[in-house]
């Protein structure tokens, strides 16, 4: 059995060849537009947290582990291997990251160990999928189970012996001191406190991005362009990606497909492990059993959301992190304000569909949706706590429902590859 997913797009059709290319100016314009929109909604609703320094800071912190897991997924899938075992590799990362951080008294040792722990999970996955040709999903599920059992076992054996540790948690991990971009903090903060429309919003967002940021966060963010650079600009990357698109073609040109797949999956595990280490060392400062809470799966979702590209994936995890931070910080108010934002965005989409695409029916449906959301916004004044908590998940689902058809995964993802067998 091979679980590769049934595609529901019009069967047998040639995939759309047109790809829009995002250039830096467009990305910046888009981001600025988004902040303007947020500022408008903030002023309209009084939900100040939408553009607060703290929310942005927390959003980044929430996005990083998801993004790292997503990068892990990206590396594996670009080489043709589905990695549903990200969650397990992340779990290994939390444990080993915490253990080494405590044992060596140095958080950076934890960072390295977390990556290594995840990489071991990746190696196991590579062994199963590449060498033994096991279905990728099966192997991933098994790794999740094994990792869960292993860390429970290790905690019981090792953390219980440590001062402050226990069966379900590690001792406190030494901290990595956060850094701030010098000089701009004070003036920006002064601006931010003025509550001027737009100006304060920009100032706050900048503050959130530049002040009190963990160096580990910076490292994680750097890994996004680094991944892009390696995979899309170097010979190594081209070969690796070719293994995910058409491994026979790569093999016929002398590329050793097996070893590239191995490297990719091990790196994938290391990234997921880093995500776990981040969670333990920076986000929590401690290892707790079950602290990954499904973030590995969310990382996978962010990767698909991002169309198997580093930039898109970063956007996906940021969206997730941002909505999660909002709901955790001032859930009821902020999420309620988001309803207005969604309503405005839907109106924008409806107009686009009408004017640029002449899709009248779609535009009407979207407009009705916008109206409905607005009504909900208008007649309620907060969102029940039980609902705010799935905001990030719902948003992801909705965005995918709108944009999924444009996604294009590497052509050979999930397919078994055996040297000299397929054509």
């Amino acid at each position: 059995m091979s679980v590769t997913g049934v595609t529901a797009s019009v069967p047998l059709q040639t995939p759309p060849a047109r790809r829009t290319r995002l250039t830096w100016p467009w990305i910046l314009i888009g981001l600025a537009g988004l902040i303007v929109l947020l500022a408008v909604v903030r002023v309209a609703t009084g939900a100040d947290d939408l553009t607060s320094e703290g929310a942005v800071n927390a959003a980044v912190r929430a996005a990083v582990p998801i993004g790292l897991a997503g990068l892990g997924g990206l590396w594996a899938e670009r080489a043709g291997i589905v990695n549903i075992g990200l969650e397990g590799m992340m779990i290994l990362g939390t444990w080993f990251g915490a253990w080494a951080g405590v044992a060596f008294g140095n958080p950076w040792a934890g960072v390295v160990a977390g990556a290594l722990g995840g990489a071991i999970g990746g190696l196991l996955h590579a062994l199963a999928t590449v060498t033994f040709g096991v279905d990728h999903i099966i192997s991933g599920v098994a790794i999740n189970i094994v990792a869960f059992g292993v860390v429970k076992y290790l905690s019981r054996v090792i953390f219980t012996e440590m001062q402050g540790g226990g069966e379900t948690q590690s001792p406190q991990i030494p901290q990595i001191d956060p850094v701030s971009l010098p000089w701009i903090g004070t003036p920006l903060r002064a601006l931010g406190e003025k509550e001027w429309f737009l100006i304060s919003d920009f100032a706050n967002v900048l503050l959130g991005l530049t002040q009190n940021v963990s160096p580990f966060t910076l490292l994680a963010i750097l890994l996004v362009p680094l991944t892009f650079w390696i995979l899309w600009r170097t010979a190594f990357g081209l070969r690796l990606r070719s293994c995910g698109e058409r491994p026979v073609a790569a093999e016929s040109l002398g590329v050793n497909v097996y070893s590239y797949k191995y490297i990719a999956v091990v790196v994938s595990g290391a990234f997921a492990g880093l995500g776990g280490a981040f969670l333990a060392i920076v986000a929590a400062g401690i290892y707790r059993e079950d602290q990954t809470g499904g973030r590995g799966y969310i990382g996978l979702a962010a990767m698909i959301f991002g169309n198997w590209r580093p930039g898109g994936l970063a956007a996906g995890s940021t969206l997730f992190g941002y909505t999660d931070a909002l709901q955790l910080r001032q859930g009821g108010t902020s999420v309620h304000a988001l309803l207005l934002l969604v309503s405005i965005l839907l109106v924008g989409i409806a107009i686009y569909q009408l004017v640029r695409q002449s899709r009248i029916r779609a535009a009407v449906v979207t407009a009705v949706g916008a109206a409905l959301v607005f009504v909900v916004y208008a007649v309620t004044d907060t969102v029940p706590e039980q609902f705010t908590q799935f905001t990030p998940h719902l948003v992801t689902l909705l965005v995918l429902a709108f944009a999924s058809q444009r996604l294009r995964m590497p052509a050979s993802v999930g397919l078994p590859y055996r040297r000299g067998e397929s054509t």
Binding site: T160, E167, T168, Q169, Q172, A284, G285, G331
Partner: protein, 329 residues
């Protein structure tokens, strides 16, 4: 198995006293070492073990398990000759009710639940809302911005009791005080008790939203609340045990007080009663009056308001103040 081996298999250097009972203890998820409410039960057990020369066997629940598995755990203890058997957590309610019937000669204690009744069942209950009332009052008294917060781990009735008492206490001092509340996850997702990252973000949100004292009833996520308080230069209130003692050294100084839920005392008292053959079936409520719940003063941060708090305590004990145990709405 590491740390509790000796207690079960018997430590040769410390010959078991002849009258020593064989105690069975079934933990909720997390077990010994969860630095929270299971740990408190373990402390009570340890105290009893040394004092009465008892031996014990401790079993632990797994996440997501069925009632049948809990029952089986209790049965294993009962059939293994363990008597009394203590079950920690309301999830053991039905299993205890059932297994206690099967073993009428074994005494059972059930922490946090009085729905299971039986001639051999002692229900150990806590008035968490009363203790929370006092720390709520403390928070209101300490808040300079007239704004405080509550972080709950998972939105379940038990934690709502903490919230209700806390809010009532704060409002009692300052009726117009602003209280922010946040639960980290919804049942049956119990990861809210294990996710310090979420605890930190939620508390930061509250501090940014104007609060300067935050009370956490979030189990393992509470550490995140303390970290956030430290960074915001604000105060936090601990829960269950005296967290100014147990928390990490770096955050101890932000914990002005803790709401003490003395599961250890309850467990110890029950075991002591068992040793002296004076165990009574039915509910024992560990409230302010008997010192089953309380607030802590470690660190001296509430010394200035101690008199006020003690006065409130007396009023609650005397029944002058009735503390609600349910949130409204």
């Amino acid at each position: 198995g590491a740390e509790n081996t000796d207690s079960a298999k018997g430590d040769p250097s410390q010959p078991a006293k002849p009258q020593g009972a064989k105690i069975g203890l079934a933990y909720d998820i997390g077990g010994r070492g969860d630095q929270s409410f299971n740990d408190a039960a373990a402390r009570g057990l340890d105290q009893a073990k040394t004092e009465f020369g008892a031996t014990a066997n401790e079993l632990e629940a797994s996440p997501g398990e069925t009632e049948a598995q809990k029952e089986e755990r209790l049965r294993l203890l009962a059939t293994g000759g363990f008597n009394p058997v203590i079950a920690v957590g309301f999830a053991y309610s039905k299993p205890v009710a059932k297994v206690a019937q099967e073993f009428p000669n074994v005494k059972f204690a059930l922490v946090d639940d009085e729905a299971a009744k039986g001639p051999n069942i002692s229900n150990l209950l806590f008035a968490e809302h009363e203790g929370s009332f006092l720390v709520g009052a403390a928070a209101a008294l300490k808040s300079k911005k007239n704004s405080i917060g509550f972080v709950g781990g998972v939105q379940v009735p038990l934690i709502a009791k903490f919230e209700a008492g806390f809010a009532a206490g704060a409002k009692h001092i300052k009726p117009d005080i602003k209280i922010q509340t946040k639960y980290l996850t919804q049942p049956p997702d119990f990861s809210g008790f294990n996710d310090p990252a979420k605890g930190k973000t939620a508390a930061e949100g509250m501090f940014d939203g104007g609060a300067d004292v935050v009370y956490q009833a979030a189990g393992g996520s509470g550490g995140g609340v303390f970290t956030a308080a430290k960074a915001a230069n604000a105060f936090a209130i601990g829960v269950d045990s005296d967290q100014a003692l147990t928390a990490d050294a770096s955050v101890k100084d932000v914990i002005i007080t803790s709401m003490l839920k003395k599961v250890d005392v309850a467990v110890y008292t029950f075991l002591k009663g068992f040793a002296s053959n004076s165990v009574t079936a039915g509910s024992t409520i560990y409230d302010l009056k008997v010192g089953g719940v309380d607030y802590s003063v470690t660190g001296g941060k509430v010394d200035d308001i101690k008199a006020q708090l003690d006065e409130l305590k007396q009023k609650i004990i005397s029944g002058e103040i009735k503390v609600p145990d349910k949130t409204t709405g």
